[in-house]
């Protein structure tokens, strides 16, 4: 290509300067504890008996297709399932060997946990979506707008809990499917369908502050029954679906390596820089390019001018010399003519002299 080393370093320096300028424009380190008065659900896994009433209610309220095996069939609990495009929520059974003695029992019983969208306070899906199909509503749920979705499925990748599912089977207008915390129902003052259906009240619905208070009171009253932690209080920046358990959450497929850092914070730096980069860098780099080009053009022009000047000078010099030579030639010619004339005259005079004598 033939770019000089100096120019290359020049461009790199400019890029670096541009980058440094962009880094300053980050969002300040803020913590978001949820919209005040937003709702949350507490799932107490020590109360869940795995009856799947919640799954049935969710299926009915959301108009989802009926499943292959009916909800009364509990043999599905033998396999761990995940949420998919036909099930916003699933209940899984965990055989844990060190169930604490909330009452001495002959053998440890199975533990059940309902899995669905956790409605994070700072959702990774909303952060990953570049068309703003996901919204964290002030009421608490994270809802999805299929009308703007482009089907890129970044949200499936971004979710720390692997919850959203995609309607791969639909050719036209496939949607991302996930729990909505029954947003239309709760805005009308009703309960989410799963919460209403649970016979054991293993799901508690209320304002997030109240739900946390209920959870803390339960832990205080029965310290032998619960692990002293509310999952979702701070994980990935806090969620609107909280869990209580009697065994380490890790054993119920709830990852314990999530710290209080919200998921979007991991990418907000890089993503926040994109508009700045797109705005500044082209201008900067094009500017530099333009300057360089101009400099080159001017240099070119100057070079040409110099050449022209030299040429002109040379020409002038040549002309002068030619003129001088012509003058000199003319002079010499004149001189020669004069000499010839003089000579002729002399000869004529001489011839005349000879005759006259």
């Amino acid at each position: 290509m033939g770019i000089s080393r100096r120019r290359f370093l020049h461009w790199m320096g400019a890029t670096g300067a541009g980058l440094a300028a962009v880094k300053k424009a980050q969002a300040a380190e803020k913590e978001f504890h949820g919209y005040p008065g937003s709702f949350a659900v507490l799932h107490d896994t020590t109360l869940c008996v795995g009856c799947r009433s919640c799954e049935a209610a969710c299926n009915s309220v959301n108009g989802l297709p009926p499943p292959e095996k009916p909800f009364s069939d509990l043999s599905v609990l033998e396999q761990k399932r995940r949420t998919d495009e036909k099930s916003f929520t699933v209940v899984n059974r965990y055989q844990v060997s060190n169930v604490p003695a909330a009452g001495p029992r002959a053998e440890p019983r199975a533990i059940f946990r309902k899995h669905q969208c956790n409605h994070c306070l700072e959702p990774a899906c909303a952060s990953a979506c570049f068309v703003r199909a996901f919204t964290k509503t002030p009421e608490g749920p994270v809802i999805y707008d299929p009308s703007v979705c482009v089907g890129c499925r970044y949200c499936l990748l971004a979710c720390p809990f692997n919850v959203p599912a995609y309607e791969y089977n639909k050719a036209l207008e496939p949607r991302v499917m996930k729990c909505t915390m029954c947003y239309p129902r709760i805005t009308k003052g009703l309960l989410p369908a799963c919460v209403e259906a649970c016979p054991m009240e293993a799901l508690t619905f209320g304002k997030r502050e109240d739900v946390l208070r209920i959870a803390r009171e339960r832990i205080r009253k029965h310290p032998d029954r619960y692990v002293d932690h509310i999952y979702g209080e701070t994980e990935v920046g806090g969620t609107s679906w909280l869990y209580l358990a009697g065994v380490p959450f890790q054993q119920l497929d709830l990852r314990e390596d999530y710290q209080i850092r919200p998921a979007p914070e991991f990418t907000s730096g890089a993503l926040g820089a994109v508009p700045m980069v797109i705005g500044l860098w082209p201008v900067l780099l094009i500017g530099l390019y333009a300057i360089n080009q101009r400099k080159e053009k001017i240099a070119q022009q100057e070079r040409e001018q110099a050449i022209q000047a030299v040429l002109a000078q040379a020409r002038a010099e040549a002309e002068r010399k030619a003129q001088e030579a012509a003058q000199k030639a003319a002079q010499e010619k004149q001189k020669a003519i004069d000499m010839a004339v003089k000579k002729a005259l002399e000869e004529a005079a001489k011839a005349k002299g000879k005759e006259g004598a």
Binding site: G50, C51, S53, S72, L77, A102, P199
Partner: protein, 510 residues
Amino acid sequence: MMRQKMIVCFALAAAVGLLILPLAACKPEPAAGKEGGRPDLILIEGLSEFGPLESAPVPFLHDLHAELVQKEKRDCTACHLEKAKGILSQKYMRLEDTDRQAVMDVYHENCLACHKETARSGKPSGPVTCGECHVKKPDVFSTRQPVVMDLSLHARHIDAADGKCDTCHHQYDEAQKKLVSVQGQEVSCRDCHGAVPAENRTTFRFVAHESCIACHDEFGAGPRDCGGCHDPARQKAIQKLETVPRLARGQPNQVYLTAAREDIGKSRMPSVPFDHAAHEAAAPTCRTCHHQTLKACTECHPLNEQAEKSVVRLERAMHAVQSSHSCVGCHETAKFYPNCAGCHGLMEKGVLTAFACTRCHSGPPPSEAALRLPPATSLEPQLERSSLEAAELVEISGLSDKFEGVRFAHRRHIEKLETLIASSRLAVRFHGRQDLVCQGCHHHTPAGQTPPRCESCHGTPFNELNLFMPGIVGAYHRQCVGCHDQMGITTVSSCTSCHDPKGGEGPSVP
């Protein structure tokens, strides 16, 4: 040509980086079925007293070696030197630890010599290279459990020793500067021999192995290998006597518990009539309560804090809920036995109501209590009948569109609970009054009154004004299912055990 080579190189590097390296980095899942547990595992790290270890401690299986030595028709002296008449040193091939090099040499020379010799004679032998013994992450782990000499096992030992306590029990006489046996002053070995060596006392672990095993050896009875005492499976197999004869050590039968003699004037709470004989039967060992020494609690626990703030006051010693030695602590644990956990498992743990004080503090005032003993029969717990008539059947309906109502066998439940209560002296002592049984389910209700309907308090759930109260459906299920769960009742295991579905299949509980 160069270009092609480069492409191949890059492709290989990519393959390694993306496929093989991550697989290599993955740690294999640990075996699900936790094998490799041994009760006789000893980690040889004796050199640690000379400074930090250079090699990993050696996992040594004592029973394995003892068995092999026995097969060779040899005894413990194959590895343990005699330090006094009939007493073997518990160290390996030495009487004392002199210095680092010497101890190391003892192990290396003797262990390896034996292993090499065994290998030479063609039998399977042990490791001989450094890394085979000094294993950083051994597969084997210890399942050793401490042995508890409970009253049953102790009674069997009394039998074996022909009732001669001085066979095992001694104490140190300061004046004579030697061990003597005093009849009537025997205490637990652990009262003097602790976990760490002190002045002129060795550790309990040391003396247990020295005395117990020597005696077992001499009489050819009782376990001599690690697993015989320390393997949890074999511990369960230790024979338990049906009736354990009461250990006679001059203890009272019934007594009034109150403050120590010097504090009587300062003590105000009525004394506690205490049936010591009945409690002996309930506790596995004397140390359950007499955890430090076999004296009265007030000898160590003063009424008020004295100059030393770290002393545990009498009140704490008796009432601390978390402690396994205190009265309240032990009673609290008893609440979670299956027969009791149905009600108590659902209640808040560790709550002492003012009502509970009078259940125990029902004796004469302290000044009187110090002077006499309670009459033997006065401490027998009494059942009191209730004046209320319990309904036989209770119809709970109208709450669900999926299920019919529940025809609850109310009186049968009460009768069952009363039978269970009657079988426990502790239960009768605290709630022999039948009225109190109602409060197990009809909580937050005064005793002796017809309880209000559950719907009076429990309504729709998630009421902001009543955060901690479940709704009516949740309340019923949590109370009923919770009780069955706590008591380990598996006969009631699905929704349909209690209520029929309204037309068609309802969800069921696994």
